[in-house]
Assembly symmetry: D2
Homo-oligomer: 369 residues x 4
C-alpha cells in the first residue's frame, strides 16, 4: 500500500543500516559465528511490517497475511490439501506436533543428536511422552536403525509403543537427507504404522545445500508432517508447520492454543512467511548462508584442516589446534564443540543469511596467517 | 545508532503510514472495536526494530535490549530484587507461571470470568492443575470469596490443595482493583499460605483508569508474581513476567524453555518492552485507549444507555436495542456479548492505543442519529 | 480344588468369625455407617483366595481366574464384544478411562456432585483434562443440562472441546438413573459426538434399588464404557472396567500399565470378580445393603423425619435435630453431611453388604427412644 | 482375635493346601521359574485376612493394621521420623515417588537396565519427567557414572536438570549394592544436590543375599526414599514407601490419592506388611528364594555352566545350549533372555518364597541327565 517512492526510500534506509552495521562490526566488535539467529530479520520483513502496521486485521492467525502465506506455501509444496499453521519457535513446534499426534502410551524415536532429546529441557516428556534414542554418527536415521527399536518394544503393554519418527533436515550436525534416503525412510514408516515428522528449523539450508537433491515438494510428499523454519533463516520468529497427512489435521488448532502458541497478532507470523516465500527469498537466504560456510570450509580444506563431520550446509565443525582457536576467538565468537585431544578441538561455525563477505574473508585471512 | 537525520526521516515515514491508514479505514472499511490487538504495534517499536536490526546479539533473552528493558522495569516497580522474563503471550504467561509454582496436587483459584478458566483451551489443566471457580459479578475476587473455598477443601488428601489465587487487572469485564482491595487480598493470601498472581494482559488499562489509585510499584509490592501485558497495549507480542516473591524465582527460566516460550531472538521482546517503558509510553497508550472508551461511554450515558457492568477502562458493555446494534454493525465490527431480552443485547466495545478520534466520533455520530 | 470337607470346614470357620465380630461390635464398639468399605470382603472371596493360593498363574491379568471372570461378565451383559479390565479402585478407574479416551484439548462433563470433580485430588486434571461442571440437585445429568455446555463451547479453538459425559449410578447422592433417563442421555450423546461413561462404584446398589428398572445388560447397551464397582460391594479391592464401544478398546491395556494399575498378581482381582459374579452374589450383597438402608429410612419416615434427597439405595441423608445426632453418635459412627439450620443437620448413613440386622435394629431402637 | 484352636486348624488347612498344590504341580503341570509373583501369598497373610475380615476399620490407610505395620517398619529401620505409605505395586510406587519429588524441569537418572526406563510403558514420562540413561554392565550406578551426566547438563536452561538418582536393589539383573557402594553413592548425591531413591521391589532378596553386607537400617540411612517390595516377596500386592528425607515428606499423601493409588480398604496393605514384618518373615521368604536360586546356580557351576552376570539373589542367568533349553522348557516355564550365539542362549530363572525343594531338585535332576 506504500507507493513506490516510500518503498524505495525505505529500502535505501534499510540498506544504509545494513552497511553501517557491517562497518561497525568489523572494526569495533567481534563477529559471531555462534548461531544463525544473532541478528534481527531480513529487511523485506521489516519493510512489510512497516507497510501493514496499522491495517486492522482479525486476530489469531485469521489475518489476510497469514492466509496468503499459507496459500503460497501450499503452491510451493504443490499440495492444496496440506494444513498450515504458524508458531513462534522450534521447541514450540516440536512439542505441539508430537503431543498432538501421540496417544499417552506412544512415543517418538529420535537420533541421539536430536534437538528434542538434548536441548529442549524435556519439553516432549513434559507433554507425557518418552523419546527413544537411536545412536547415530551423522545425525540421520535409517530404517535399519528403527528395526531393532521396534523389535525391542514387543512386550505389550509393558513398554511404550513407538509411533512417530522425528528427524531433522538439515540435522543438528549439519548433514542432510537425500531423496532416496527420505523415500526409504517414509516407505518404511508407512509399512510399520509409524508417522514421519521432519524438524525443518534449518530446512532452507538443507534444501539449498550443494549436494542436495530434495525439493520442498518432495518433503511434503515424503513426510506426514514437517515444518519450515523461519527463525534460523531470516525471520524474527516463526516456523510454518505443514500437515500433509489428513489424519493428523483434525482439531490441530486446539493444540496450538492450549500450549500457549496461538498469537493474538498472528499477522506477525503471516507477514514474515509471506515475505520469505515471495520470490523464494527463503531459499536465497539459506543458500547465502551455505555459501559462506562453504567458503570457510574450502579455505580450511586447502590448508589440510580436518572436520568432525563432512557437512554441506551452514554449520561446519573444523578441528583446529587450540592455539589457533585462541587467536580466532579474539576476533570472532563461536562455540568450542568438542575436545579431540590435548592439542586439538573441534569448533562449530554457523553462518547466516546475513553473514557478510567481509566477515568470511576476514576469518579466512586470519586463518591463513 | 542511527543519526538524527535517519531517525527523523524514519519518523516521518511512520507518521505518514499512520495517516494513510486512518484515512483508508474510515472511508473504505469498517473500523473494528472487537479487540485491542487488531493493529500491528506502536511506531516507536518498529523504529527500534529497524534501528537495531543488524546488531548481533546473544540469543534467548541475553541480548542487551532485554537486559536494559528488565532494568527499566525494576526501576519502575522500585524493586531491584524482582526477576523479570519476557514471553510472547498471555496464555503462555499464565500456563508457565501457574505450572512453575504449583506442586502436582495444588490448584489455582480463579473468578468465574477468569481468562484461564474459559478461553485458554484448558491450558492450565493440560499442565496438570485444577482451577477452582469463584462466582463473581464483577470479575474480581475478595477474601470473603476465598474463605468458603478453603473451608470446602479440608478433606485431606482427597481434595486438591488451593495454593494460588489468580486475578486479572483490569479484569475480563473491564473492572479494576483499587489499592485497598489489593492490599486486603494480598494480606489474606499471605495469612493463608496462598500465592497471589495478577494477570496483567491489560494492566496498563487498569493502572490508567480514571478511577484507579494503584501504581505499578504497589502492584509489585502486593503480588507474588504478575505480568505487564504488551500484546494488548501496543506491542506486536510480549508479556513481561515479574516475580517479586523470591521463593518463586529459582530456576524459572527452565519452565519458559520447557514450554516452548524461550525465543531464540529474545531481542524482539526486549526491544519492545524497552520502547514501551521509555518515557512511560506504555501508560500513555493505555490511557489513550481508556479515554476513547470513556468518550463513547459518556456519549451513551448522555442518551440514557445502560451498561452490563460499570467500567472505566478500555472495555465497555452497553445494552442497546437490537435495531441500533444492526445499524452500528454496518459500519463497525464488535462482539454481541449477551442477550438481555427480546429487544436488547449487550455489546462489547474495546478501544486500543490506536483508536482514533475519527473512529470514536463517527461511532458517536451514528449513535446520535 | 479343595474337597468338600475342607470347603465346609472353611465355611464354618468363616461363619464363626462373622458371628464373633458381630457380637463383639454391638457390645464393645461403635458400629460404623460411615461408608461401605469398612470391612474386609465377603467370605466367599477369602475362601477362593485360600483355595487358589498356590496355583501358579500368569501375571498381569492373564491368569485363569481373570479370564473366567471376564467371560462371566460378558455373559451377564450379553455382549461378547465388550472388553473387560480389572483395576484396583475407583479413582484409578476414572483417571485411566478418561485419559485413555480424550485427546489433550478435550474435556469431560460431570455433575457438580461428581466424584471426579470433588474427591479425587485433581486426578483427572493431573492427566491434562478439564472437567466442566453441571449444577444438579440430584446428582444426575440430563440432555437439557448438556445443551448449554455445548452451546457455550463454540469458540474454537479458544475453549476446550466437550467430548465425554461422566455419570455415576447410583450417584454420589444415592439417586439412580432409570432406563428411560439413560436411553435419553445415551441417544443425546451419540447425536452430539459425545461418549458416555458410567462410574459404577456403586452400580450394584443402583441396579438392585427397589425403584430400579435398569439391568446390567441395558447399562452395557446404553454406555460407551462403564465399570462394575467391587470395592464398595464386598471385594477387598477392584473395579471391572467394561468397554462396549469398540473404538475405545484399542490399546487400552497400555493405559492401565502406564498409570501403575496393572497388578503383577492380577489373580487377586480376577478371583474376586469371579466370586462376586457367580450366582449373582454381587447383586445379593448390594440388595442387602439397600434393604438395610431402607429399613432405617422407613423407620425414620414413620417418625416424620425429612431427608435431604429421596434415595432408594444404600445411602440416606436424614435431617435430624443436633441433640438426636449427638445421642446417635455415641453408639454409631457416621458423617454429619450438612448444616440445615441452627438446630438441624443432615447426616449421611451408608449401609453395606455386611450391615447386620442387629446394627440396623439397634439404630432404630435408639431413634425410637 | 481368633483363639488358638481356630488358628491352628486354619494353619493346618493352609498347610494342606500347600502340599496339595506342590504335589499337583510336579506331576501334572510345569513349574514356573518365570517370575516371583506366580503364586498368591504367604499363608500367614491369608490367615490374617481371615482373622481380621469383619473388623470395621477406617479407610484409606488409617486402619489399625496399617498404623501398626508402619510402626514395625520404623522400628526395623530405627528411624521414627521416616514416613511410610503403602501402595499396590512397583510401577505405581515409582511414578508417585518420582513425580512427587521433581519439579517439572527436573529429571531422574537411571541405569540402562532400570525398570522405569524399559518396562513401565513410559509411566515416568507420562508424569512429565525425562529419564537420563546411564549405560551399565551390571545394573548398578556409581558416582563415576553420574559425573559425566552432570557435566553434560550445564546448558541452562536448555537442558533438563538432573535431580534424582534411581537405583534398584537387588537390580533388574539380580546384582546388589554393598554398604560401601551405597555410602559412596549417597555421599556423592548429597554433595551434588541429588536425591537418591532405591526401588526395592526385590529389596528382601538383596538384603538376604549370601554376599550382602547391607541392612534395612543402613538402607534407610543411605537413601532419601526407598521402598520395601511386597509383591515379589510373598504379598498379594503391596510396596511400602519409606521417606527418610523430611523435605520429601510434606503432603506426600496427596500424590498417592491423585495417582489413584489410595486404597479405600488400605487394611489390605497394612495387614500384609504387618504379617511380613512380624518375626522377619519378609527376610525369611527372600532368603528362601535366594537359597533355591543358589542351589540351581551351584549345580550348574559344577557342570561348568557360564552365567550372563554373576548374581547371588533369586535371579540367575545361565547360558545353556539351545537343545538343553528345549528339554528344560518341556518341564519348566522360564524366559529365554538373550541369544548368545548360534547354539547358546541365556535364560532367566527366578525363584520365589514358594519355590519348593521338589521343583529345584527336579530341575537339577534334568540338568544332570
Amino acid at each position: 500500500m506504500l507507493d513506490d517512492f516510500q518503498y524505495k526510500s525505505n529500502k535505501i534506509l534499510l540498506k544504509f543500516c545494513s552497511c553501517y552495521f557491517n562497518f561497525f562490526y568489523f572494526y569495533c566488535m567481534k563477529f559471531s559465528f555462534k548461531n544463525d539467529y544473532s541478528e534481527g530479520c531480513h529487511p523485506n520483513i521489516l519493510h512489510a511490517l512497516l507497510q501493514t502496521n496499522l491495517d486492522q486485521q482479525a486476530g489469531y492467525g485469521e489475518d489476510d497475511y497469514s492466509l496468503q502465506a499459507k496459500e503460497l506455501i501450499k503452491e510451493k509444496i504443490k499440495n492444496p490439501n496440506s494444513d498450515i499453521y504458524f508458531v513462534s519457535g522450534g521447541t514450540q513446534a516440536n512439542l505441539i506436533v508430537i503431543s498432538s499426534i501421540l496417544r499417552p502410551y506412544q512415543c517418538v524415536i529420535s537420533a541421539s543428536t536430536g534437538h528434542i532429546l538434548n536441548y529442549e529441557t524435556g519439553a516432549i516428556e513434559a507433554t507425557g511422552h518418552k523419546i527413544l534414542n537411536i545412536n547415530t554418527e551423522d545425525g540421520k536415521i535409517r530404517p535399519s536403525d528403527i528395526i531393532p527399536v521396534l523389535e525391542g518394544h514387543q512386550n505389550i503393554p509393558h513398554q511404550v509403543m513407538p509411533k512417530l519418527v522425528y528427524i531433522s533436515n538439515s540435522t543438528e550436525l549439519g548433514t542432510i537427507y537425500n531423496t532416496k534416503e527420505l523415500e526409504d525412510l517414509f516407505t518404511f514408516c508407512k509399512a510399520n504404522g509409524l508417522y514421519l515428522f521432519m524438524d525443518g528449523a534449518r530446512l532452507g539450508h538443507g534444501l539449498t545445500s550443494e549436494i542436495n537433491d530434495l525439493t520442498l515438494e518432495k518433503v511434503a510428499e515424503l513426510t506426514d508432517i514437517f515444518y519450515i523454519g523461519g527463525t534460523k533463516n531470516g525471520a524474527l520468529i516463526g516456523e510454518a508447520i505443514v500437515i500433509n497427512n489428513q489424519d493428523l489435521q483434525q482439531d490441530f488448532a486446539f493444540n496450538i492454543k492450549q500450549k500457549g502458541a496461538l498469537m493474538a497478532k498472528g499477522r506477525l507470523l503471516g507477514i514474515q512467511f509471506l515475505e520469505l516465500m515471495k520470490n523464494d527469498l527463503y531459499f536465497d537466504l539459506a543458500k547465502h548462508a551455505n555459501n559462506q560456510a562453504m567458503k570457510i570450509k574450502n579455505a580450511m580444506k586447502d590448508k589440510g584442516v580436518k572436520f568432525l563431520t563432512d557437512t554441506y550446509t551452514n554449520q561446519i565443525f573444523p578441528i583446529l589446534t587450540n592455539s589457533l582457536i585462541a587467536i580466532l576467538a579474539e576476533k570472532f565468537d563461536f562455540f568450542v564443540w568438542e575436545k579431540i585431544n590435548e592439542d586439538h578441538s573441534a569448533i562449530r561455525l554457523i553462518t547466516s543469511w546475513n553473514t557478510s563477505d567481509e566477515a568470511v574473508n576476514r576469518f579466512i585471512e586470519i586463518l591463513n596467517k
